[in-house]
C-alpha cells in the first residue's frame, strides 16, 4: 500500500469515528499537528501554574492557601500527563521543556499576563478555568485516544478548579463594595485575553479539525463560553467590557466585538507583559534542578 493509500485509509477511519491509539501508524501531518497541539497544551499547564502560584504565600486564609496549592499542583500534574502523551508522538520531554524555556514553542496567551490582585485569582479560577474546561470537554471526543484518556483525567480536576474559583468569586461579589470592585476590575482587565484564549475564528481549512484532533471550531467554543458564563456574571451584577456583547435571539447566537488580534499575535509570539519573567522562572528551575533529573534517571552526577 502506498503512503497516500494508507493516509486515505487513516482518514476514512477518523471520518468513521474510530479512535487512534498510541503506537499505530500515523500520517506525518497528523503526527505533527497532534504533537504541536498537545505540546502547546502541556506547556500551557505548567506555565499556567505560575500566576496563581505567586498567590499561594499571599492567600487570605489557610483554607484558601490549601486549595490554591492543590490547584497549582494539579496544573503541573496536567502538564506531566500531557507531556507523556506528546512523547509518544516522537519528541522527548527534555526537548519539549528545553524548547519551552528558550521561547521556541508557545503557551496559551492568558498565562503571559500578570495576576495582580486576589480578584485576578478568583477570575482565573472561575473564568479562565471555565474557558479551558469548555475547550477540554470538546477534546473528550478527539480522534487520538491517549489524548482522550488524558482529558478524562484532567476534566474532572478542572471542574473542581472551577468550583474553587466560583466560590472565590461569590465571596467577593457578595462582600463589600471594595471587594466587588476588586472582581469587576479583574473582569475588565482579563476579558480581552479571555476572548483571545479561544483563538481567532477558525480557518476554513483547519487541519486540527480535519484530523479530528479538535472537534469544534474556535467560534463555537467561544459562543458556548458566552452562554455559560455571561448570564451568570450579569446575575451577579458584574458587567463585561464589551458594549456590543448581546444575545441575538434572531440569530440564536451572541454578537460580540472582535478583540485586538494584533495584541493576541504579539503575546503568543512571546512578547506578553510577563512572558520573559515567567520563562526565566521556568528556565532557572529547569537548569538548577538538572541534578534531580539525572539522579532520577540513575545517571551519576559529574564529579
Amino acid at each position: 500500500m502506498t503512503y497516500e493509500e494508507r493516509t486515505a485509509e487513516f482518514k476514512g477511519r477518523i471520518a468513521g469515528g474510530q479512535k487512534i491509539e498510541a503506537g499505530e501508524w500515523l500520517p506525518d501531518d497528523f503526527r505533527q499537528a497532534a504533537l504541536k497541539f498537545i505540546e502547546m497544551h502541556a506547556n500551557s499547564e505548567v506555565m499556567g501554574a505560575i500566576p496563581e502560584g505567586t498567590w499561594v504565600p499571599r492567600a487570605p486564609t489557610l483554607k484558601r492557601k490549601l486549595s490554591l496549592t492543590a490547584k497549582v499542583q494539579d496544573e503541573v500534574g496536567h502538564g506531566q500527563i500531557l507531556y507523556r502523551v506528546a512523547e509518544d508522538l516522537g519528541k522527548s520531554r527534555e526537548q519539549m521543556f528545553d524548547d519551552l524555556v528558550n521561547g521556541r514553542t508557545k503557551f496559551h496567551n492568558v498565562f503571559h499576563y500578570p495576576a495582580e490582585t486576589w480578584g485576578d485569582v478568583a477570575y482565573i479560577g472561575w473564568l479562565i478555568d471555565g474557558a479551558a474546561l469548555v475547550n477540554q470537554k470538546a477534546l473528550l471526543d478527539s480522534s487520538y485516544l491517549p489524548y482522550v484518556r488524558a482529558m478524562r483525567r484532567i476534566c474532572p480536576e478542572e471542574s473542581l478548579h472551577l468550583r474553587h474559583g466560583e466560590e472565590l468569586v461569590l465571596e467577593l461579589v457578595s462582600g463589600t463594595p471594595a471587594q466587588r470592585e476588586l472582581f469587576q476590575d479583574a473582569v475588565n482587565r482579563w476579558w480581552e485575553p479571555t476572548m483571545h484564549f479561544f483563538g481567532p475564528p477558525s480557518k476554513k481549512r483547519d487541519m486540527l479539525l480535519e484530523w479530528g484532533i479538535k472537534t469544534r471550531s474556535n467560534e463555537s467554543l467561544r459562543q458556548e463560553f458566552f452562554t455559560t458564563y455571561v448570564p451568570k456574571l450579569w446575575d451577579l451584577g458584574i458587567s463585561v467590557p464589551d458594549p456590543a456583547l448581546e444575545w441575538n435571539e434572531e440569530k440564536g447566537e451572541w454578537d460580540w466585538s472582535e478583540p485586538n488580534w494584533d495584541e493576541f499575535w504579539k503575546v503568543v509570539g512571546g512578547n506578553g507583559p510577563m512572558t520573559s519573567v515567567r520563562l526565566a522562572q521556568r528556565k532557572t528551575v529547569w537548569d538548577t534542578h538538572a541534578w534531580v533529573r539525572e539522579a532520577f534517571a540513575g545517571i551519576p552526577a559529574a564529579a
Binding site: 502523551v85 509518544d88 488524558a150 483525567r153 473542581l160 457578595s174 446575575d235 451584577g237 444575545w247 534517571a297
Partner: protein, 119 residues
C-alpha cells in the same frame, strides 16, 4: 528511562483500565509516580503499572482506604465545594434584591432568562 502504562480500578469489581502513562527508571518508581499523577484525588481503589512491551503487571501496594491520602485532603475533591451552586443562586437573588443585576437578554434555557427585573 522506560515508559510504563498506568492502570486503575474504580471499584473492586472492575477490570484494570488503562488510564495513562508515566516514564520511570524502574517499576518501584513508576508506582510512586503513577500514584501521585493519577490517583491523588481518590480516583480508584487500586492501581498498577506495566512496562510497555512487557506482560508483567506491578500492582500498587496501597489499598482503597489509603489510596488518595489518609489525612483530610477534601479541598482536593468536589466534596469540598458541595453547595457552591446553591450559594450562586442565593447570591444572585441578593444581588437582584439590591438592584445590581444586569438585565439584558439571556439565551433560551438560562435559569435567569425569565426572571422579572427588580422593581
Amino acid at each position: 528511562m522506560a515508559v510504563f502504562d498506568v492502570f486503575g480500578k474504580r471499584t473492586a469489581d472492575d477490570d484494570w483500565t488503562l488510564v495513562g502513562g508515566i516514564t520511570a527508571p524502574d517499576p518501584e518508581m513508576a508506582l510512586v509516580l503513577a500514584k501521585e499523577t493519577h490517583f491523588r484525588h481518590k480516583e480508584g481503589v487500586a492501581y498498577a503499572v506495566r512496562r510497555r512491551g512487557e506482560e508483567e503487571l506491578h500492582v500498587g501496594p496501597y489499598d482503597a482506604g489509603v489510596l488518595g491520602g489518609v489525612t483530610d485532603h477534601s479541598y482536593r475533591r468536589q466534596e469540598a465545594y458541595t453547595g457552591v451552586g446553591g450559594r450562586q443562586k442565593r447570591v444572585s437573588r441578593q444581588i437582584q434584591e439590591r438592584g445590581l443585576r444586569i438585565d439584558r437578554p439571556r439565551p433560551p434555557g438560562h435559569p435567569s432568562r425569565d426572571t422579572e427585573p427588580d422593581g
